[in-house]
């Protein structure tokens, strides 16, 4: 049985100073949330890094708030994971449109810092840090969701590089991205099924790449299916080691699983609920008090994992615990809203109803993206020694 303990930590003065800086910046850049004011749909883009605004991304880049934790050699700012944590939670809480650069900042920047050639690092990392270059995730395929190791997109050697054939799907924000980091098959799976997988950095403008929009159930175009038809990728765009993609992806998911985005997706609904509730109604107070307790604790755990990253510890198991609890909490918020308020969700006359309608429809994805609930429980069970 592995130790799952997570030590909470507190933010020091430097982190809190950064928090104030971010708040001041956001106050200038975004209209503050007004109680009871309908924002004619604007409220919907808030939370969960949904808004996409390259101009805003460039402004953040200018402030030094993308690639914060990388070395300055590559356009980063060598700040701690805890400082990056403060920045991201403040951006999400303010509903900032960070969707364009989000993935490159969170997981592919660090991946490139670790594995890419000097050429690529010098070329791409400063552009990512300036908020100009975006990268999307290329993992899932229509026949390979939770069973990622069964993926079939292939890369075959050719002169000076590789030819990629296959199809990735459910790729968020890929229509705005310049590159995809794709996990593809380059060799035999072997006994563990995790062998023969390799990560490639693919230019989405390269000949042979085509995007087909995939509408999500609200009707919005947020995903794409990306097809590769003999797409040439030069040798130095193989990221890390040939055949070691599985281990690299597992590390990457550790970063993806425990951040503030794992419990803040429904924050705006919670805020609306607090404004709509009656403090003297015990039914309202008890239900919302429980949510406050949940959020306080999940945030402490999530910060604890950031602290582990700062100390160079492996947070794999703890990160899975945070994601499981965080997404369960996010999904619970609309349930509680149904329980305590009488809402007619066909009229959508208030921000509460608007937010509610939106979250009821999107909340199922919280426990699917970045590793399904079932996969996470499996990881935790393995940590307990029962798998």
């Amino acid at each position: 049985m592995q130790d799952i303990s997570i030590r909470t930590c507190r933010f020091d003065e430097q982190c809190e100073a950064l928090r104030q800086e971010v708040r001041e910046f956001m106050a200038q850049e975004l209209p503050p949330r007004k109680k009871g004011a309908s924002e004619s749909g604007a409220v919907l883009s808030k939370g969960s890094a949904r808004g996409v605004d390259p101009e805003f991304s460039r402004k953040l880049g200018k402030r030094g708030w993308i690639g914060m934790a990388w070395s300055s050699q590559y356009g980063g700012h060598a700040r701690s994971p805890l400082e990056r944590y403060v920045l991201t939670e403040e951006l999400l809480a303010a509903g900032a449109p960070v969707g364009a650069h989000w993935i490159a900042d969170r997981q592919y920047g660090p991946l490139l810092v670790r594995y890419a050639s000097e050429n690529i690092k010098n070329d791409l990392l400063p552009r990512i840090a300036r908020g100009e270059l975006y990268i999307c995730v290329g993992m899932s395929e229509s026949d390979s969701g939770s069973d990622l190791a069964s993926l079939r997109t292939r890369a075959e050697r050719t002169k000076g590089g590789w030819l990629i054939n296959g199809r990735k799907t459910w790729n968020s924000a890929s229509q705005w991205s310049h590159y995809m980091v794709a996990l593809v098959r380059t060799g035999a799976a072997g006994e563990t099924r995790h062998g023969g997988l390799t990560q490639f950095l693919i230019d989405l403008k390269a000949p042979g790449v085509s995007l087909r929009p995939v509408r999500i159930l609200t009707g919005e175009h947020r995903w794409n299916e990306v097809t590769f038809d003999d797409v040439f990728v030069p040798d130095d765009h193989l990221i890390g080691e040939e055949g070691k993609g599985w281990a690299q992806v597992t590390t990457e998911l550790g970063f993806e699983r425990s951040g503030p985005e794992r419990y803040l997706s429904s924050l705006y609904l919670l805020l609306e609920m607090l404004d709509a509730a009656d403090p003297d109604n015990p039914r309202h107070a008890v239900a919302l008090g429980r949510l406050v307790a949940d959020m306080t604790t999940i945030r402490q755990m999530s910060i604890g994992v950031a602290g582990m990253l700062t100390r160079g510890e492996n947070p794999g198991l703890a990160a899975s615990v945070v994601k499981e609890l965080g997404t369960t909490f996010e999904q619970q918020i609309p349930e509680v809203a149904h329980e305590i308020f009488d809402m007619d969700l066909s009229a959508l006359e208030s921000p509460l109803e608007e937010m509610m309608s939106f979250l009821v429809q999107t909340a199922p994805s919280f426990s699917i993206r970045g590793g399904t609930r079932e996969i996470l429980r499996g990881i935790i069970a393995r940590g307990l020694g029962v798998r």
Binding site: L274, V286, A287
Partner: protein, 358 residues
């Protein structure tokens, strides 16, 4: 980061409880017998005075140092009023009163308390029935927090003629919970403590003590469940091989981790200005872990776990009993929920983040 004092305390409680607290002792205690020799060892080892200043013969530690002792009381299922005595001694010392040896009967007298506290000249007289006092019949000192003329007082009373055990009782874990009658009994000592202590001192400190001990008991029940699932064979294989069992245990682990983190965070906030909210959070999360955890532990253990012969219930009955003491989830949730609603959506995020600043 663990302090070394805390590490040393954790080491020594583990050494003693692991060796001394076995099923025989637990069963003996549940038949109503006071475990005098273990109590003596606990006091001699200084566990009941971790929160007491050095000049009063204590360790001078804070709640982060008290955590491993209270956690161990839950983890090793120790049938003694260690948590209550630590808290009672802490309240006495902080109110500037003397700390004596012996078990403390902790009396919660704020809010809807049924005792009558009256000043007679310089004496504080206590009358009425104090209900379900933990280990009341075994107490050598009673410590009471309450209100007199709108001010918070801490009082110490010693058993004597004017104090009687009105009814012996116990909670689900067979820990003594006795009704104690006070018949105009004069407090041995008392002090006003408005500035020193949070309101409802016994309730808040008690709630944190229970949250920590529940975390310990939940960790024990989880460890027992994990072990059992790898040993119990059904359908030709260990039941741990079934995904349904694996996922239940994963959920249990998540809930337990939440309770631990929330309790540790509350300990960490005890030296700050307003720890009450974080204590509320800890009690809510521990209560939830108690409910979910005990349910899963028993589901995994099947019929074996329902027998008295098995050891699982020493943990699960404590989880259930402690969940209901010093305010259940709804009490604490109503308090912090009403507060958050009054502050409104616009202040919520600022309030949340203010709690994590150093």
């Amino acid at each position: 980061m663990m302090s070394s004092a805390r590490d040393m305390i954790a080491e020594s409680v583990k050494r003693i409880f692991e060796e001394r607290v076995d099923t025989k002792l637990q069963r003996d205690a549940e038949e109503g017998h006071w475990q005098a020799s273990l109590w003596k060892l606990v006091e001699e080892s200084g566990f009941t005075r971790v929160l007491t200043p050095e000049k009063l013969g204590g360790t001078g530690g804070g709640w982060t140092d008290a955590y491993p002792v209270m956690h161990a009381v839950g983890y090793w299922r120790v049938p003694l009023p260690i948590v209550e005595t630590m808290i009672g001694n802490d309240l006495l010392a902080r109110a500037g009163l003397d700390v004596n040896d012996g078990a403390v009967g902790l009396i919660q007298q704020d809010g809807q308390g049924s005792l009558n506290l009256a000043l007679e000249g310089k004496q504080l007289r206590v009358s009425g029935l104090a209900k379900s006092v933990p280990w009341g019949r075994n107490a050598q000192t009673f410590v009471l927090s309450g209100q007199v003329d709108g001010r918070q007082v801490i009082a110490r009373l010693n058993p004597g003629k004017q104090i009687a055990v009105h009814r012996e009782g116990h909670n689900m874990a067979k820990e003594h919970r006795d009704h104690i009658r006070f018949d105009g009994c004069a407090a041995e000592e008392f002090a006003y403590a408005d500035e020193l202590l949070t309101e409802e001192a016994v309730k808040t400190h008690g709630a944190l003590g229970r949250a920590i001990a529940i975390s310990g008991a939940a960790e024990s029940a989880l460890a027992q469940s994990v072990r059992y699932s790898t040993e119990r064979v059904q359908f030709g294989r260990a039941i741990a091989r079934f995904q349904a069992i694996q996922h239940m245990l994963a959920v249990f682990a998540c809930e337990t981790t939440s309770a631990v983190v929330a309790s540790e965070a509350a300990c960490d906030s005890m030296h700050k200005k307003n720890p009450r909210n974080q204590i509320a959070v800890a009690k809510i999360k521990a209560g939830q872990a108690a409910g979910v955890g005990a349910r899963i532990a028993h589901q995994v253990h099947g019929a074996f776990g329902m027998t008295y012969e098995h050891t699982l219930h020493f943990a699960t009955r404590r989880m259930w009993a402690w969940r209901s003491e010093y305010g259940s989830e709804s009490t604490w949730a109503e308090e912090i929920g009403a507060q958050a609603i009054r502050r409104g959506g616009e202040n919520f995020w600022a309030d949340v983040t203010a709690r994590s600043a150093a």
